[in-house]
Symmetry: C2
Subunit: 319 residues, 2 copies
């Protein structure tokens, strides 16, 4: 991502009343804000300080990726509980700064305040050429729905970190813990899709496939059929499901925070797009279903089909 | 401020992965983030929900004003404690929305999360022509230091709201409560100063004159002499000081959150700038001192002079 570093863009960084940058002439600017609170979105038992910082920035960068944009700069509002744990704060900042540097995101300012719990609110500004900007609302009937990677690992990792620390040393689950603690925003993939006119809609998978497919369909005024057997389930989620007696599909459908991209691609272009994707990124682009007319979003399992219901994590254990 | 409304600039508002806007071709963009936490920065006893929203946005807009910029858009991260007080949240949002509309600031997105206390983090994006951008670092020896209005009312209002609610109905203190609860960011004034080449440096007074003059001097590599008798003390702060037996100057020097602008103006231009200011805004521009060589910042009282010490509110009661 070296090409995305824009140190010249920032005219004035931390230290004045506000930071200043020069937007690119031909680009639109995009903005996204995400907040994380200790005890609500993370616990210090489940994730280290550096990973917390990484995750917080990664979830914002994932939104930037989903627009087909590249990140430019970020501000951080940090709420710090008493007694102040300076090591935690410095490590958290290091996690933010490392990912920021690697993705060409300048940290230009923010605010540090006292708070009853650790609280991290990050705003990221990105840029995109108007013709490359993707939204959730462009999907058309017959488009292929596809995702950029296997799903469910992040939720499996969270479950292991919180409830089954004994599994943390099992090599089968290393990738799950990594997916939860240090997710990789799909910036290069988002930029690639942004440049392709045949990619009609795009969003990032932050709340689980079941919720996010419905959102994309609602925004586009379409329906969809998702093929149960085509959903790529992460190996580690499969292994954890087998171990705890839960259908591993639940992690992929309802787990959330995988930060892969969901795209709707013109059907005739899909084979070529998928082929180029493998060649560029060394991973397959997973076709999971088809956009339809109407507004019904169904999960097809061979001959059977049922409404695909948005379900959060709380629902998971009851399935 | 009707002329600053840019609905056309926002290409995509709330509802997608990120909001999108088109920056002005000739402008630089500026960004500032401020966070407020219940129990730290405000209590529900001291300030209502709508005023809390207004204040949170106003403090950000004040930073935008201090750059000579105009606001374009904002995102809001809201942390909400259990049980959720929907009325409070709606009223708070109304306070933000009203000030946003009046100042041409589009609310384009944000995040609502659970939190152990009410928490409000706002990011505002503004724009400024490069030639109009003001910073803290341009003050030169012999410049006139001036402030846009009387100081100390906000702190007096906070003290009344928290410690002396019995004074709340006294008409002498109505302006203090208003200054604390609904401060007015000096956007028009900031834009005016931005357009004047003879205004060499500018910042907003958020942490008290004693702290902020030192900051401006440090950023500019200069010193200053501030004339004690020239500091404009708000009538309400004077009245409260008399009542509680505190030197009213303390409110003006160390109180903070007045959100007036501090400017350094070329000495030969100052009379003209001040005259035009009165004509435009119907209020005087208060000359409070002079920029000097060196790094010493002193408070002059007739023949005597002492180092002007940065002092926060905690220090106030011990004076």
């Amino acid at each position: 991502m070296a090409a995305t570093v824009h140190p010249k863009k920032v005219r004035l960084g931390i230290g004045d009343d506000a930071a200043v940058w020069k937007p690119s002439r031909s680009a639109e600017s995009v903005i996204t804000t995400d907040a994380l609170v200790e005890g609500v979105h993370f616990t210090r038992e489940g994730i280290g300080a550096e990973d917390t910082g990484h995750r917080a920035l990664a979830s914002n960068l994932s939104d930037i990726a989903a627009m087909g944009a590249r990140p430019v700069l970020a501000t951080i509002a940090l709420g710090v509980a008493q007694p102040v744990d300076e090591h935690w704060i410095l490590d958290c900042y290091r996690g933010i700064a490392r990912l920021a540097k690697r993705t060409g995101t300048a940290i230009v300012g923010g605010d540090i305040v006292s708070a009853p719990a650790l609280m991290l609110s990050i705003t990221v500004i990105g840029e995109v050429r108007p013709s490359h900007r993707k939204t959730r609302s462009g999907a058309r009937p017959a488009d292929v729905l596809a995702v950029t990677g296997p799903l469910g690992a992040s939720r499996a990792g969270l479950e292991i970190a919180l409830d089954r620390p004994d599994l943390g040393i099992d090599p089968r689950f290393a990738s799950a813990l990594r997916a939860y603690r240090a997710p990789e925003p799909r910036l290069r993939e988002g930029l690639r899709f942004g440049a392709l006119r045949n990619v009609h809609a795009m969003m990032d998978l932050s709340d689980g496939l079941s919720t996010d497919v419905r959102r994309l369909c609602a925004a586009s005024g379409v329906g969809a059929i998702v093929d149960r057997d085509a959903i790529p389930i992460a190996e580690s989620a499969r292994a954890l499901g087998d171990l705890v007696g839960l259908d591993p599909l639940a992690y992929a459908l309802d787990g959330g925070e995988d930060f892969e991209l969901l795209v709707a691609v013109a059907p005739r272009a899909f084979p070529h797009v998928a082929k180029r994707y493998v060649k560029s990124f060394g991973r397959p682009l997973h076709r999971i279903g088809t956009v339809t007319e109407g507004s019904s979003v169904t999960l097809r399992n061979g001959e059977r089909a049922r409404e695909l219901v948005s379900a959060g994590w709380d629902h998971l254990r009851e399935r």
